[in-house]
């Protein structure tokens, strides 16, 4: 009897616990219902304009539904910047999983409010759906993307740019106008105010995001100064040094600017169109291309260029950042071009290249061969930045570890480009 009673009590207890669990109301998620949002434009280096859709819950008073839909639209905006679109702030799986831990508290209304710089007075559209039970709104917002990024850095979801790059450092970027040769890019910058304006806008974005920026005109001035110094001292110019200076950036952004105009009645209206392309300097790899448009209006060219460039630059920089993060995971990248003296026979040269490859295998985390010719070896390698902090460190390693024929000498060492030569002693 006692046994039966105990069994019954245990069974009842189990049932009550199970029942209590199933009856427990689910906590309402703070995540957005809507994932419908689109970036309209980048209005400044720190702010973006977004249009988003928000949904209310089912039923309730109009004011309540309106509030819910507004909050949801605001969440959708932040979601887009964090996770949606082609260039979200959270790009790596690690960042996403880190954010997933805090997303419920992050998407609270009070937290999101700080990032909304402005929101439209009027809806772009307002519609009751589901036979009038739910409210759907479309609204425009201006968001401080930079503040959002900083906040995520503070919360440990994103790493600071400098931190991302770690020992690698942030990429050095040069901004140059596209040219087919003559006049040169620098001449264009000096003579064409539209191109100059374009460079200024991109540079403003770059500096706002703490990238190292190389200004081509200054680079040229530096080169000229160096030449002059050598000349004053009666020394010969070090052409290899000058060459290295010219390849001083990790990435360069080439851009073009077009102002299109047409007549509307007797008024000329203009539209600015800019295209930005980001390249890896050492490899010429295209990292991203974006085109930006200004509205068509009667305004000075500089204003139109600025408007168009805002749009393009923001997206290109997002691509660069993504690329740099990805690259940083592999290590610091160097381009090594080895030239083997043609005094060697082809088979000897081949042996020399094999020997050099062995040295590379010892130092590089990974490498990619571009060209393996009879006397030339062109390779990209990624090394641990903690071990190799500069190209001269790497050169020293090669010098010490090259076991093949001939003597390894450097032709030029620049930030990312190492030109080497192997010749008979």
């Amino acid at each position: 009897m006692k046994k039966t009673l105990i069994v019954t009590l245990i069974a009842l207890n189990i049932f009550s616990v199970a029942f209590a669990k199933s009856d427990k109301p689910k906590a309402k998620s703070n995540l957005p219902q809507s994932h419908e949002a689109v970036i309209l434009e980048s209005t400044s280096p720190t702010e973006v304009m977004v249009r988003a859709t928000g949904y209310s819950g089912t039923g309730g008073k109009a004011a309540e539904m309106d509030k819910q839909a507004n909050v949801d639209a605001r969440k959708a905006v932040i979601w887009l910047i964090l996770l949606g679109g082609s260039d979200p702030l959270l790009q790596t799986d690690a960042e996403k999983s880190e954010f997933a831990k805090i997303q419920e508290e992050y998407f609270t209304t009070a937290n999101l409010k700080q990032f909304v710089v402005w929101e439209a007075d009027y809806y772009d559209s307002r519609l009751k759906i589901d036979g009038g039970k739910k409210l759907k709104i479309e609204k425009s917002f201006k968001i401080n993307k930079s503040l959002l990024q900083q906040d995520l850095i503070k919360k440990g979801v994103l790493a600071e740019n400098a931190q991302v790059a770690g020992a690698l450092g942030l990429p050095t970027i040069m901004v140059i106008p596209e040219t087919s040769g003559k006049p040169s890019a620098i001449e264009l910058l000096q003579t064409n105010p539209n191109l100059k304006k374009g460079a200024e806008v991109i540079e403003s974005y770059l500096t706002a995001r703490k990238f190292e920026v190389i200004v081509p005109e200054q680079q040229q001035v530096l080169q000229e100064l160096t030449s002059a110094q050598y000349a004053l001292q009666g020394s010969n110019e070090d052409y290899s040094y000058l060459l290295a200076l010219s390849i001083g950036s990790d990435i360069y952004i080439a851009y073009n600017v077009t102002i299109e105009s047409r007549k509307l009645g007797s008024t000329t209206v203009k539209k600015g169109v800019v295209a930005c392309r980001a390249y890896e300097t050492t490899t010429g790899r295209l990292l991203g291309t974006e085109t930006g448009y200004s509205p068509e209006r009667t305004a000075p060219d500089a204003v139109l260029i600025e408007e168009a460039m805002h749009d393009a630059a923001d997206k290109v920089l997002s691509r660069i950042t993504a690329y740099w993060k990805e690259d940083a995971r592999q290590g610091v990248q160097y381009k090594v071009i080895l030239n083997v003296s043609d005094n060697y026979t082809k088979s000897d040269a081949e042996e020399i290249i094999f020997a050099f490859t062995d040295a590379i295998k010892k130092t590089a985390k990974t490498f990619k061969e571009n060209v393996v010719a009879d006397y030339t070896y062109d390779v990209l390698l990624w090394c641990d930045p903690a071990v190799y902090q500069s190209s001269s460190d790497l050169y020293r390693f090669f010098k010490q570890n090259y076991k093949g024929a001939g003597v390894l000498t450097r032709v030029s060492l620049s930030r990312k480009l190492i030109l080497l030569n192997i010749a008979e002693e």
Binding site: V38, L40, E41, T43, S44, M49, R51, K61, A62, A63, M65, D66, W118, A120, D121, Y122, Y123, D124, S125, R126, L127, K128, I129, D130, G131, G132, I137, E138, S140, K142, L264, G265, S266, T267, V269, K271, Y293, P295, E296, R297, T298, A299, E307, D311
Partner: protein, 574 residues
């Protein structure tokens, strides 16, 4: 004064006809659909200064035709539109071709317009776009980094496309023209039927016209036959009435109807971004509601109440200025819901059955042709007011202010005997009557105050009272009237049944003292007559409270022009 009774009877007839017509039109034009949440954008209108007459037997003088066109163009020239008048050469070509064709159907007209007008309109729009583009540019500049730039679609290109696509053309037409000259009426009446063809000009690679709607209206005007230009004057009166109607009907076309999101709500007052730039006026009614997607996927506007404009903002310079409106029927409203215009003439028609006291003190009235005796009576009389309440709020800047013009038709159960010198029998045997007719004509001022759907109104009126007996004399209808000049004041309590109708009760006081003032109307001719009797004359007065029921309706159109009626009344007094 002479034509008061006739005018009132015509007024009743026309009003009923007008109301029925309005109801039918209202039902055909009521659906409303706009892009949800969007504000009204200005439309550019091209107009053809040419009149189409669908029956070439109709002969309308050139001066009258031009008057008609001017009236229509002035009526349709409202603030929500930009205008692109078409060049004279084009108009001339079109008119010539129209004249050659004679009677044209709607499809023939469309083909003719496409051949002669469309290419030219596209060119004109390019020129006119300069002005519009400047405005849009201002707005873009103002908003530059703030408002939506649908870059992915090309903002300014879209705006220009919008301007291009918002080009419309209208053509006035007359389909029927009738002149009636009744023998027993010294006036002739011109009745016209006509309207506007509205087309949408679709620009692009294949410019074309798309018919939007054909608006129909009818109107009439009267003038004394004797006058040399009677028909022309009557036609012009009808033309101005038609212009007035067509303006309201045009405003009621869904693409031209003003609509805007609510900017803010504070208790029963809402603010919204429309104003003088769009031509809104005090007291104009707007529906408030929201767009709802039905289960079948259709989008409809669900009304949840209505408001009347209480403050008109001057947003011509600063488009951020907000107008205000007060809620009469208020729903569960929130910022962002939509207001949709409900175009009306601004003239309400009120019907007020009422009761009041009449006092008749026995006596005799004798003129050259008639002798009338009245018995004593002191009791209730019954009548019905029919008023036109013309909204003058935009003029005097006080909301819900009305100029009231109206009349009462009633009956008083007083015994009378009427002798006339028409023949020996009439001299000896009187026409005895148990009741006399009562007619009032009055004008005054009314003010209404809304408290939600309830409203109180007060009005002060100055009017004329006619106590009427009728007879025949020399085979002609004769009306013998005792007249009095007096005042009325009323206080009413109304309930807004819907946006167009109020129902309520009223009580007031009228003071029409006894006056020995008699008129006899032979046929159309009315003369003041002397009272020759040495006996005490009948003393007819009404100094009494009055009370009744109140019903008003705001029609979208009327087939007569109250302004013209007023003018006729003024001429009468002169």
């Amino acid at each position: 004064m002479k034509r008061t009774s006739r005018t009132i009877s015509k007024l009743v007839h026309r009003t009923i006809r007008g109301i029925l017509f309005s109801v039918v039109l209202g039902q055909t034009l009521c659906p409303t659909l706009f892009a949800q949440g969007e504000r009204y954008t200005r439309k550019s209108i091209a107009f053809m200064d040419a009149l189409m007459v669908s029956d070439n037997h109709l002969q309308i003088g050139l001066a009258d035709e031009q008057y008609f066109l001017n009236a229509i163009n002035a009526g349709i020239r409202i603030s929500r539109f930009d205008y692109n008048p078409l060049p004279d050469t084009l108009r001339y070509t079109f008119k010539e071709q129209l004249r050659e064709k004679g009677i044209v159907s709607e499809s023939e007209l469309s083909a003719l317009i496409e051949a002669t007008i469309v290419p030219e309109i596209v060119r004109i729009l390019d020129i006119e776009k300069e002005i519009r583009a400047q405005n849009l540019v201002d707005e873009t500049q103002r908003n530059s980094f703030i408002v939506l730039k649908a870059k992915e679609m090309g903002v300014t290109a879209e705006q220009i496309e919008q301007v291009m696509n918002s080009s419309y053309i209208y053509l006035p037409f007359i389909s029927d023209y009738k002149v009636s000259k009744p023998k027993d009426d010294k006036n002739l009446t011109v009745s016209i039927k006509g309207g506007l063809f509205w087309y949408h000009i679709v620009a692009g690679d294949e410019p074309r016209l798309e018919s939007i709607v054909t608006l129909h209206s009818e109107a009439s005007g009267s003038e004394e036959k004797e006058k040399s230009s009677a028909e022309s004057v009557a036609f012009r009166m009808a033309a101005s009435t038609m212009a007035m109607n067509l303006q309201v009907l045009t405003r009621d076309i869904k693409i031209f109807r003003l609509h805007t999101p609510i900017a803010s709500i504070e208790r029963r007052t809402i603010q919204f971004p429309l104003g003088k730039a769009e031509g809104i006026k005090l007291d104009e009614p707007f529906f408030v509601g929201e767009y709802v997607e039905t289960n079948s996927g259709k989008i409809r506007f669900q009304k949840s109440g209505f408001v009347r404009v209480s403050t008109v903002a001057d947003n011509r310079e600063n488009s951020r200025q907000l107008s205000a409106a007060y809620a009469i029927q208020k729903g569960d409203w929130v910022k962002g819901m939509t207001m949709v215009e409900h175009p009306r003439l601004g003239i309400d028609v009120a019907l007020k059955p009422r009761w009041f006291d009449m006092t008749v003190k026995e006596g005799i009235f004798a003129s050259d042709d008639f002798l009338i005796s009245f018995a004593d009576y002191d009791g209730l009389a019954v009548g019905a007011d029919l008023d036109l309440q013309i909204n003058i709020a935009p003029l005097i800047k006080k909301r819900q202010s009305f100029l009231v013009v109206g009349g009462t038709a009633g009956v008083v159960p007083v015994k009378s005997a009427l002798y006339s010198t028409d023949n020996i029998l009439d001299i000896l045997i009187p026409d005895e009557s148990l009741a006399a007719g009562l007619l009032y004509g009055y004008a005054g001022y009314m003010r209404r105050f809304y408290i939600g759907r309830l409203a109180v109104h007060g009005e002060a009126l100055l009017g004329l009272q006619h106590l009427i007996l009728t007879d025949t004399y020399d085979d002609e209808d004769v009306t013998i009237s005792n007249n009095s000049l007096g005042v009325r004041i009323n206080l009413g309590l109304e309930y807004a049944i819907n946006i167009d109708c109020n129902f309520g009760v009223f009580a007031g006081f009228q003071a029409f003292p006894a006056m020995d003032w008699w008129t006899v109307k032979y046929g159309d001719e009315e003369v003041d007559v002397e009272n020759y009797t040495g006996w005490a004359a009948p003393r007819i007065s009404s100094v009494s409270p009055t009370f009744g029921i109140y019903l008003h309706y705001s029609p979208p159109t009327l087939s007569f022009n109250p302004a013209a009626l007023l003018q006729a009344g003024m001429d009468q007094i002169k």
